[in-house]
Amino acid sequence: MLAYIVRRVLYAIPILVGVNLITFLLFFVVNTPDDMARMQLGTKRVTPDAIEKWKADHGYDKPLLWNARENSLTKTIFFEKSVKLFALDFGAAEDGRDIANEIATRMWPSLALAIPVFLVGLAVNITFAMFMAFFRATYLDFWGVVLCVAMMSISTLFYIIGGQYVASKVWHLVPISGYDGGFDALKFLVLPALIAVIAGIGSGGRWYRTLFLEEMSRDYVRTARAKGLAESVVLFRHVLKNAMIPILTGAVVVIPLLFMGSLLSESFFGIPGLGSYTIDAIQAQDFAVVRSMVFIGSVLYIAGLLLTDLSYTLVDPRIKLE
């Protein structure tokens, strides 16, 4: 297994180089270093000298990908800005603030929202799907599916705005937006977490229901029932266990990405997490932050895939990673 992990980690290196290159190209297709300087310096009274000075100070006064004058690949913006990422040295944002420090600060609010949403959402979706599977082909199953389709047809934004309107504006139960540290965070997280879980029930419930129904049509389920096992035992002890591989495929891969936060919820609920950090950076044309966040996202996604593979061996002893 160790060899497998090492091989996967080595595979990750060219993938990360590629992701970094694509991010770089996409960013600089729409932004030039001059644009970045103007964005930071403002549009009033900015002289060409000031722009050149900003570029030189921030290392954007070199060629993008190939330094023809010095016949060098290393004396370029791409190389100088990218190579440090692999040592997890994110450097400073274009406004001078340390990116690693920002990430360390902002990951906690993101996790405080994402972890409960993930765990509760998973539990609710599986329970609801089991419920529909248990009552398959009855009116409960039918209306359950109808409810799922209806819920997944509604925009997340509607859940957010509707939830804020009802729970905070009309019923005055929780703050409409904001965030605070420690236990005070709870009153700010209840509503966004609840909304995120409810918004995910439609798609999650249907997906897991399909998985369970597929498992329930297998021979071992008939055997279990023939043995006289109660339906709940069949479902929870046999069907759920055998449906774990597809569940894990979807669930484990997103665990590391929880760290990246939620773009929409964080923005609407004023939660100072990494999702809003990324959005702010894109709006401010802060390449240093965009590059760092994309890099971290890629690393986490690769880690998620690796974790998924490893988790297969835990739930299915027949699988061996070689």
Binding site: P48, G96, P175, G178, F268
Partner: protein, 695 residues
Amino acid sequence: MRILLRIFLISLLFLAGCEGAWNDPYGETVRRGMTLYSSFTERPKHLDPVQSYTEDEARFTQQIYEPLLQYHYLKRPYELIPLTTLEVPNAREIEGGKYTVYDIRIRPGVMYQPHPSFVADNLSLDRRKVESLKSPYQLPLGTRELVADDYIYQIKRLAHPRLHSPIGGHMNDYIVGLADYAKKLRAADRGGWLDLRQIPLEGVERIDSHSFRIKVRGTYPQFVYWLAMPFFAPIPWEAERFFAQPGMAEKNFSLDWWPVGTGAYMLTENNPNSRMVLERNPNYRGEAYPSEGEAGDKESGLLADAGKTIPFIDRVVFSREKEAIPYWNKFLQGYYDSSGIGSDQFDQAVRMSIEGDVGVTPEMEERGIRLSTSVATSIGYVAFNWDDPVVGGASERSRKLRQALSIAFDVEEQINIFGNGRGIAAQGPVAPGIFGYREGREGINPVVYDWVDGKPQRKSIEAARKLLAEAGYPNGRDARTGQPLVLYLDTVTRGPGDKAAFDWYRRQFEKLSIQLEIRSTDWNRFQEKIRKGATQLFRLGWNADYPDPENFLFLLYGPQSRARSQGENASNYVNPEFDALFERMKNMPNSPERQRIIDRMVEIARRDAPWIWGTHPKEYSLRHAWLSNDKPNNMARNNIKYLKVDTEKRAELRAQWNKPILWPVALIALILVLSALPAILSYRKRERMAARPAA
């Protein structure tokens, strides 16, 4: 679902244990004393006064830093008064007008806020000690008196090689020796702290501990206005030395993050992602609330606190609100003391009478919310590129085309449709409230308006068509080629909502049978096109830096051409007579003679019509009944020290407006339980069955 319900009920129990309303977003620590609650949308990029230049940042920096001068809070037109100086410095010409000097005397006894940089031991910290800090204020704090050297130090920082002052290039043209000073600093810079005290600057001279002199090239009367901006706020050398220590940058401890000032407030919590907190500076000397204002101020209660020592407010909590809906709802719940009005909320907040009077709606009135309006010292316009062969240039043909378009483009309709009536149609480049602006009949643009029944009336579309025909485009076709006239408007795309505005623009041009092509792009490309002169028409705006007509008229000054010299004249307009008059006017004090010159310049500009004179926006803001002394000020943002809050009234109304309503929660719980019952019964029935029904 039941798990969810349990979590929700536990949360409710938790909330029930909280003090105050359940939906109160503020913790106990920020509720103490007289606190003002406000918000911000964009996180500030720079709080270092040498770099900060945006409105968003000024809301913080102008409470903390004290430049030499400030604007009178109540008087209009805007008037400069001393802040840390003993008087507004007078300009004194020397060497036959080759230079102007300003002798500045600092008020004695002005103290800095408590800060660790004023404790000698904190200037040589161990890296591990720095790494263990969560805030610089965990270190022992000290203070000292403000001296002239601190202002000199800051002026030198305008040329600092690692700081990027947006006005550095501009000041190079005026402060004697500043450009050379920047070169000297570049040569001396070895990284780390650059001790500017050791390198003298020719144009700034220390007279004594509380006096200094600034030497400016030529005559530049507008220089005193810059002295009222944070670019000219004092920076103690100790602060730069303190933040240059190893490990500080990695902790985001810098002057850009932790300001050090002499102002009424100091920044004690800096989380620009979520919340910024200002607290009263315990070393602040105090200042008397103004005893004079403009007409109507006394009646509106703005002089009720005349002569009292300010500031009144102990703490200001700025919460970050990125979205308009939560922000507006929190204002209505009483969790923000004042608010602007977005387009989506306008109808809910404001009602207009048939006579054009504006007031709040009954819903707002019921809550005691009051409305303030002011015309901004800014202008939004549609510019013609003077270098364009069709719409640009001084020819009769292009001039009449521009004039015809200026008449056809119905600014009043635009203000009503897209601005909810919030703005006034511009008659020229100078904004109201600025010297040179003329009201009434003598102030109208005769190219576009007639004076009818005591008010300006836009000329008829027939007049525009006549001008268009005289320009050689009868019925919107080029008389020489017979081809329809197609014009191109460059603009920035903001979102799907722009479509209605673009359609409206096209309709204005269609009145003259002219086709308008909208070329919308992103901000960067738009700016690039203007810089390269690759536009025909484009939308742009200007917000005044200071209340002087020079700050508007220079936008049409030929040598400021954007395409030719990267200046602020984005339309690249050139008129030798206008330029010559500008040269004379810019250095004059306000006087009848200056007014005459401005009148002539405005007349030339109106005739040449390099812009479709667009709109001076009208700013509407709402405030709750418990907030007093609030007067809009377009020139300065240091208004918090004048504000006052009736905290008891606020607490009472908040509690009244935010009583939790619990019965819907109980009802939902009941519905969930009842809906689960059939499933439970069915489950039990199935478990007791002998055989499975066919699927």
